[in-house]
Amino acid sequence: MRRPQRLSFIYLSLFVALLLTVMPMPQLVKLARPDWALLVLMYWAMALPQRVGVLTAFFTGFVVDVLVGTVLGVNALAFSVVIFVVAQHHLKMRNFSVIQQALLLGMLLALYQLLLFWLSHFLTGVYFRPQYLWPVLTGMLVWPWLFWLLRRYRRQLKIQ
């Protein structure tokens, strides 16, 4: 078992993702904002599943709940479930090409939006609108670049 190294850099990347989640944006961009925190968590769960797992996802999701104002625990639950799937299949997913990964992650992002909507509908009675699915598409488009960036980040800083 390797000793953990420079774990704080993982949390730094999550912090930046959270900043991007709440950064003020024009309305048009806002609706299509990718779920940065979830994408970054997915990368780490795939690359270092022994460091970033369901519980990290839970806490990040909780912070997202506090930041964006959804019912507390909704994002925490959705994040945990999605990261559980990623962590369980990380060996398979690592072998895919980036495009295949993006397609697969698109399905997971859709699962996240579905869970989020379903829980919010159950708790506060929101209605579904197709525009809510834009982040799935933008998330898939962003993934190859994010993957490349985070891999460089991990290798340069030798995060283990």
């Binding site: 991007l20 519980l55 996802a57 506090v66 625990g73 925490a76």
Partner: protein, 285 residues
Amino acid sequence: MNQNYSRGPSLTLRLFIAVVFSAGLMFLDRYTDSSTQLRSYLTAAASPLFYVASLPETLFSGASEQFMSQQTVLDENSRLKDTLLQQSGQLQLLRFLQQENEKLRALLGSGAGVTDSFLAAEVLAVYSHPFSHQVVLNKGSSSGVTEQQPLIDELGVVGQVVSVGPNSSRALLISDNTHALAVRAERTGVRAIVEGLGQWDLLRVMHLPHSTDIREGDRLLTSGLDGRFPEGYPVAKVVRISQDASQPFMVVYAEPYAQLDRIRHVLLLSGRTAVKEDTPAPEQP
């Protein structure tokens, strides 16, 4: 790779723990009263993050203000003075009209006129998720804020307070997916209900029969019939009407007057609403 999981509980158990904790949080937040307090602490704890996230925008607008030439500032100053003069002139007339109105009301023997008092509050944080359009205000129960208090800005109705902490409170905006309020069209007096869609710039006018007289550009004002919002404040302007005979009602969209996506300061209305509190409210937020 399996030895990676040798420490600590298994992945499934971790998921189970996370699900149980999330369910507990959801219950706590939705069905108990302690959540307002908890929320205000959490928001206060997270406020540095909001601050850092809005830093680029603040820097940008700050820089553009810095580089504004003196001439521009002078121009703006004279324009503002002009506006002030005009508005105080109108205000004098308004005072007179108010007095006259009260006298007439007294003659008619109807209830006393509505006197609203305002409390200015600053917006600490804006929640921007499509499922939740809410703002956190810097005034709480220590400043006399109560639940269900309506919020306006200089252009129109903004929303209502839904939960109050000691020094902060949370307000639901009219654009929230779960918000609705009673309105009346200014031109015709048609009553309707305006619902939020989870979009900053669009509201939906509900349950209008096909024969209703409503046009694009009609001003919608609060009717006061919901027992929450006092009568007569501007809410939205009708922007789009589509008449589809296969639908039971007209599909009417309206644009809110208040700049919901860029509110900084709001006014909390207190005082008596036009309708007594025992009137059943048509919609719970």
